[in-house]
């Protein structure tokens, strides 16, 4: 059964590749996806979706949801433990930090910063990297060399060191962190996209469509791009976590999102000295980072499995 479908696919791609409309292929895939999910609804990754939905909704409506100010606390209430611990109070469900600020409020507001940084960086990086990688791999020659030299340049630099050096010169701020993460992040996508394009451009269906007179952008975005999207998705899902963690790491080194912003990485970082006396300072934002990155990665896996035409039968 499996083998038969496979053979059909292969035949289809080699015979009709020249005329094949990828969009129609995508439609069939999506349709089958819906059918599948109706069938196996229980296999939806409910938990990750719920976690992400909660974080996103909470981030958007943060000011409405939180009774406290994320940056102004009451010093007298510092190190209040979470409500379920002795000494805790329902005023501060997750306790307070070293400045008497409500940790729940800060975690919710922190989601905003994290999401803004992660989405901006990832979208820019993915678009920039994939486009340039495709172009480099397909066109080759001078263009390829130029792009790959730039990629080498960005990848060769020890990111954290250069980021620290740049931030020390220009001062820490959210836009600067985003720019740095994009500049030093797109190269990985570009490299992978190029490598796969190099392999794919010799594929029969690409060759056929080229002979059939398809324009370069058409070949790139209609034929090659879908072929590499799966791996790019995997890379992207790997990268979301990476971006969030990179931001946290820069904060750890004192050059990330500036205080008193409630960025999660920053919260872990500034709470780390109190780890023995007040564990919740480090654990709460740490769990937030963990939950979000975990959910995104899980969702990424799931999406990849569902959208990958070759892997879906397994």
């Amino acid at each position: 059964m499996r083998l038969r479908i496979r053979v059909y696919d292969m035949a289809k791609s080699s015979i009709e590749a020249g005329q094949l409309e990828t969009s129609s292929l995508m439609v069939t895939r999506q349709r089958s996806l819906i059918n599948r999910t109706l069938h196996v609804g229980r296999r939806w990754p409910v938990l990750p979706i719920v976690v992400l939905a909660v974080v996103i909704v909470a981030a958007i409506f943060a000011p409405l949801l939180t009774p406290h100010d994320p940056t102004i606390g009451n010093l007298r209430d510092r190190f209040t433990p979470p409500m379920w611990q002795e000494g805790g109070t329902s005023r501060y469900p997750l306790g307070t930090d070293e400045n008497g600020r409500d940790i729940l409020t800060r975690v919710i507001h922190g989601g905003r910063i994290t999401l803004i940084v992660a989405t901006t960086v990832l979208l820019s990086g993915l678009i920039l990297g994939t486009t340039l990688g495709l172009t480099a791999g397909y066109i080759g020659g001078q263009v390829d060399e130029l792009i790959m030299r730039i990629v080498d340049f960005t990848l060769a630099f020890p990111f954290i060191l250069v980021a620290v050096a740049v931030v020390v010169v220009f001062g820490a701020s959210v836009p600067l962190i985003i720019i740095l993460l994009v500049i030093f992040g797109w190269g990985g996508f570009a490299r992978q996209a190029r490598a796969m394009t190099l392999s794919l451009k010799t594929a029969d269906y690409v060759a056929i469509s080229r002979i059939a007179g398809a324009s370069t952008p058409r070949i790139l975005f209609r034929h090659i791009l879908p072929g590499i999207m799966n791996t790019m998705m995997v890379l992207a899902s790997l990268a979301v976590g990476g971006v969030i963690l990179a931001e946290a790491t820069l904060s750890f080194l004192g050059v990330g999102v500036p205080r008193p912003n409630p960025a999660w990485g920053l919260m872990v970082s500034s709470g780390r000295d109190y780890i023995r006396d007040a564990w919740w300072l480090v654990v709460m934002p740490g769990v937030a980072i963990f939950a979000v990155v975990f959910s995104i990665n899980f969702l990424g896996d799931w999406l990849r499995d569902r959208f990958d035409p070759r892997l879906r039968q397994l």
């Binding site: 080498d152 630099f157 020890p158 954290i160 190099l198 010799t202 995997v234 990665n297």
Partner: protein, 306 residues
């Protein structure tokens, strides 16, 4: 092929030159390096000028760069402004510690991620897969520094199995090694699993299986070899990534390596050391990526080199 290698070498050279310009400009953007000597509230003009002459700051910036670059090309990055030791020598002095740590982490990554990744792919949907994937997801979702701090707390303070920090006997490698490797184990496990799944699904593997080749042989000989192609880039560059990724781990575990030397030099604006370390890191990257590209060329005949 030779032509390709030569051109690839030239690129590496261009990369290093570009990097040197960049790092020179960046460090000078911090301002006059003499400011870093000043601790006291007061300095005489004579002393200020004397420092300037000694450091060649009275010359135009381009000349300063050329003088610096020509010396640097011979491995002379000048003396650290902090402790007046040869900057390149300091890198060399700190290198073994970093190499050892990266080596431990690299071995850990390979030993853990390859078998787990393959098993997860082969036993797809089973408990093994679940464990492997959960492991990967956990590893990737945990901030390195958080993991490091937690492990110190758990294994050094509570359990007392390993020293909290510092570089000593074998036991001291365990916690920093795991911390450095954790993120990469997860990433490479995922890559291997994905790549392995693709290969397992390919026609020739199915054919081999259909032909009756034993399952183990198929998996570990034919499938694994092919599925390592994609993660190869990753494994190659992992070396460079470890070298620079040690900054955080070395800071937490008080590990006397290049990463910490670098971060301290950046914060101190110790130009000779900053430039020596960054150029060193760039060289490491250039060499490893060159090797990866060449291996790639050998490994995948589909790639054309015009």
């Amino acid at each position: 092929m030779l032509k390709y290698v030569l051109r690839r070498l030239a690129y590496s050279l261009i990369l290093v030159v570009l990097a040197s310009v960049f790092i020179f400009a960046l460090t000078r953007a911090r301002g006059d390096p003499r400011y870093m000597y000043l601790e006291d509230a007061y300095i005489t003009q004579e002393r200020w000028d004397a420092w300037g002459r000694e450091m060649g700051l009275d010359k135009p910036i381009v000349v300063q760069y050329l003088i610096w670059a020509s010396k640097a090309a011979r491995g002379n990055f000048g003396e650290s402004q902090v402790n007046r030791r040869d900057a390149w020598g300091l890198v060399g002095e700190r290198l073994p510690a970093t190499l050892q740590l990266s080596g431990v982490a690299y071995v850990l990554v390979v030993l853990v991620s390859v078998p787990l990744g393959v098993m997860a792919a082969v036993k797809r949907g089973t408990v093994v897969d679940l464990i492997g994937r959960t492991f990967a997801l956990l590893g990737q979702a945990t901030p390195t520094f958080w993991l490091g701090l937690m492990m110190i707390l758990l294994f050094a303070v509570y359990l007392g199995w390993f020293p909290t920090s510092g570089r000593g006997g074998l036991a001291s490698y365990v916690l920093p090694g795991i911390t450095l490797a954790s993120g990469s184990i997860a990433a490479s496990l995922r890559l291997i699993r994905t790549s392995m799944l693709e290969v397992l699904d390919s026609e020739y593997i199915k054919f081999a299986r259909a032909k009756g080749v034993s399952s183990n042989l198929v998996i570990w000989k034919h499938a694994l070899r092919n599925s390592l192609l994609v993660p190869l880039t990753y494994f190659g560059l992992l070396f460079a990534a470890f070298m620079t990724g040690t900054v955080v781990v070395e800071t937490i575990f008080a590990w006397p390596g290049v990463g910490r030397l670098a971060i301290e030099a950046v914060f101190n604006n110790d130009f000779p050391v900053v430039s020596a370390v960054v150029i060193f890191f760039v060289l490491v990257y250039a060499v490893t990526s060159l090797m990866v590209d060449l291996l790639y060329a050998v490994a995948d005949p589909r790639i054309r080199y015009g």
